[in-house]
Symmetry: C2
Subunit: 428 residues, 2 copies
């Protein structure tokens, strides 16, 4: 990890440090465009072909049904089931709290406005497979979809070589009351859910992380169809703000947890104590070699850096410019600084709150804005699965009260039929 002193950095230096590449490799666009066109044109047949080509499996059916899932889930141990249940309960409890009734507001006598929530009818969840099997992602997307009340939840996950999904994915499906998993991976899964095929329902919004191909497919369908997406996604990242009250051993463990995700993951430490920074760095060297994914983590750590600042204000300023997906406040003084956080996806407070708790089971969602998207985007929540529709009701008194203003405003915008729609109601 490279080490920088904040006071030595120019605005341009900081700009460069916080910059992430958000629009990589245009050549993958050509490949993805072709996959989308092919799925759009040939439907299920294209999906079977891609399973053979990309997943190396000859599927006899495009999906697993409830019986298949129950059979697969048998190998999940009681201990694992209990852990998944704990995660389920905590995520459910926190997300349930996000649903709030809205107030009716009488903006002027006889004019009442309010919002009502409606679930997005048909949603698609993409659950990555391959080496990264992520039942936790399935919980993070399935639980808010269920709470929102979406009437159709389409789930796609790439098939393993045996033409199945992993046992944990199967078990989570049953926990969520989902009785079908489509064996479709990559950009072909996104295309199938955006356009629909003989077997796959066209959905209104697609959720879920994935590789570069999946991400590119999501951004393409977002700009060319009416199907929405949760958010653009990039490599995962953490920024740790630490002071002299931090524990360097914990910091190192948190940096490495991030680094093991992938070689393009980034772990940033912003520290007010050069000594703690050095100790954390030494701890990283110590903890890294024994990790099963040490090779991946090492490359990610090489791609990461430390910034030493003279106070927590500067540290927070740097963090806000970075706009991290995960922000850990490794300081006993966290209460004093949370108010200054402007840009972050999810925040972990104090020395006993590891990011991995939020990845699995604290209750917060782990589908979060990366690559500085936290400047404008929020993580996934129940909000992501609903629309808030506005309603208004006007009485006879109300139309008399509001009428003259609407008439004048329509007039000054040159929209006489707009004016007329009010005048006509006040004249007869």
């Amino acid at each position: 990890m490279k080490l920088f002193n904040y006071s030595d950095l120019s605005t341009a230096d900081i700009q460069k440090l916080v910059q992430r590449n958000v629009d990589p490799a245009n050549e993958i666009r050509t490949i993805v465009d072709e996959v989308i066109a092919n799925v759009q044109q040939h439907g299920d047949k294209a999906l079977y072909d891609y399973a053979r080509k990309f997943d190396k499996v000859d599927l006899s059916n495009l999906y697993l049904d409830k019986t298949d899932l129950e059979e697969l889930a048998e190998s999940v141990s009681a201990e694992q089931k209990a852990a998944l249940q704990t995660a389920y309960n905590n995520i459910h409890k926190f997300h349930k709290s996000q649903v709030k009734a809205e107030d009716k507001v009488e903006t002027m006598p006889g004019v009442t406005c309010w919002r009502e929530l409606r679930p997005i009818e048909k949603v698609g969840l993409y659950i990555p497979g391959g080496t990264a099997v992520l039942p936790s992602t399935f919980l993070m997307l399935g639980i808010p979809a269920r709470i929102a009340g979406c009437s159709e939840i389409v789930v796609c996950s790439p098939p393993q070589k045996n033409g199945k999904v992993n046992a944990f994915i199967a078990y989570v499906a049953l926990l969520l009351g989902i009785e079908k998993i489509y064996l479709i991976g990559g950009s072909q899964a996104i295309a199938a859910m955006a356009y629909g095929t003989e077997s796959v329902t066209k959905v209104d919004k697609i959720f879920g992380p994935g590789n570069q191909f999946v991400t590119k497919a999501k951004t393409i369908i977002q700009s060319t169809t009416t199907t929405a997406i949760d958010m653009p996604a990039g490599p995962s990242e953490v920024l740790v703000i630490a002071d002299e009250s931090a524990n360097p051993t914990y910091i190192a463990a948190d940096l490495l947890a991030q680094a093991e995700h992938g070689i393009d993951s980034q772990s940033v430490l912003v520290c007010t104590s050069a000594q703690i920074a050095q100790q954390a760095l030494a701890e990283v060297e110590k903890q890294l070699p024994v990790l099963p994914r040490a090779e991946i983590a090492k490359l990610a750590i090489d791609n990461s850096y430390i910034v030493v600042t003279s106070n927590l204000d500067d540290a927070m300023d740097f963090s806000n410019q970075y706009a991290p997906e995960h922000l850990i406040l490794a300081t006993e003084r966290w209460k004093e600084i949370t108010g200054f956080i402007i840009n972050a996806g999810s925040v972990f407070l104090g020395n006993l709150t590891p990011e991995s708790a939020g990845d699995y089971a604290s209750g917060t969602n782990h589908t979060l804005p990366t690559s500085s998207y936290a400047r404008a985007y929020s993580g996934v929540s129940v909000d992501s699965f609903v629309k808030k529709i506005t309603f208004q009701h006007i009485t006879r008194e109300g139309i008399q009260n509001i009428g003259p203003s609407v008439e004048i405003l329509a007039e000054l915008e040159g929209l006489h039929a707009h004016r007329n729609a009010v005048s006509i109601r006040n004249s007869n």
Copy 2:
């Protein structure tokens, strides 16, 4: 207006009727790509050039300042000021009600999760100019931006031939406490706000309607930069559900109010009474010719249609498939059917609630999802100008409670460093 009987329509017929074109004319992409590249490369100079080329004006300065705006606003009459103030007050009152504190939730003993709102720091508002001068749009975007607390609000609007903006736009700027309006229109305005120039601040999210070029520019920057957009935009539309308790004169006025927006606007009537439908159609013929924008409205009406159903259930079913931007329930029985609305942007209840009230002054926002985007998107609200950041705090007791589950889940996903970040906190 073409008239259809719902019972005669096949699923495919309905599919065709509710279909709107969302990805038109690829040739405009080439033009917009070039504008974006040019602004990115040449900054302010490109903006001056485009003002000469597209707006036919030689600008001496890229923006109007407070003095300019105050001078322009002098021509707004007291009556017009009062109407704008009424709109301001109602919109402010309703949008203010959307800001709610979130609960802290203890998901398990010692593990607490919550969300906090933070304004998006830098937002860009695009206010169309030319023939359609829309001070109302400026209110609809500026008020929630102010309530959210955005620290920088960049406003772009195309210059008129005199190198100024319209007096009403200037007055609304002063109402909102905005002291600068950039004289930039079209896709060059979107590019300037997405990339920043010498004069224009790069923003985190861009809002506002516009022509095809503006819309295309927004979808391009959404998929190639970290700047977000409010939503994709298409031509405006209304769907009126009416029964025998509706007033055909009001229905006609509402259909025409929509139709005068532009030749690609759509006005759909779904009616349980063939008689009311015929009367409304006759009223359209009567009211249309006297409108100043009759030529535009006629073309839009020709492009619109009526569906006669045998009951309100079928009418609502059609409406949900159409997913209208504006939905008017022209029936005394509106209370019985609002619960069945699934897809709509904003809803107008009963015979005395014209859509134009919501366009200007009822309090709801008029920046709404068109083109069936209402299936997955909500209209603009204070939510659109904030992020909801998740926070979590774990105590010593909490990490002991949650630790074992996180360890098991990290293990089954093969992420040992994730496991370690918890174990290490429970072991020393």
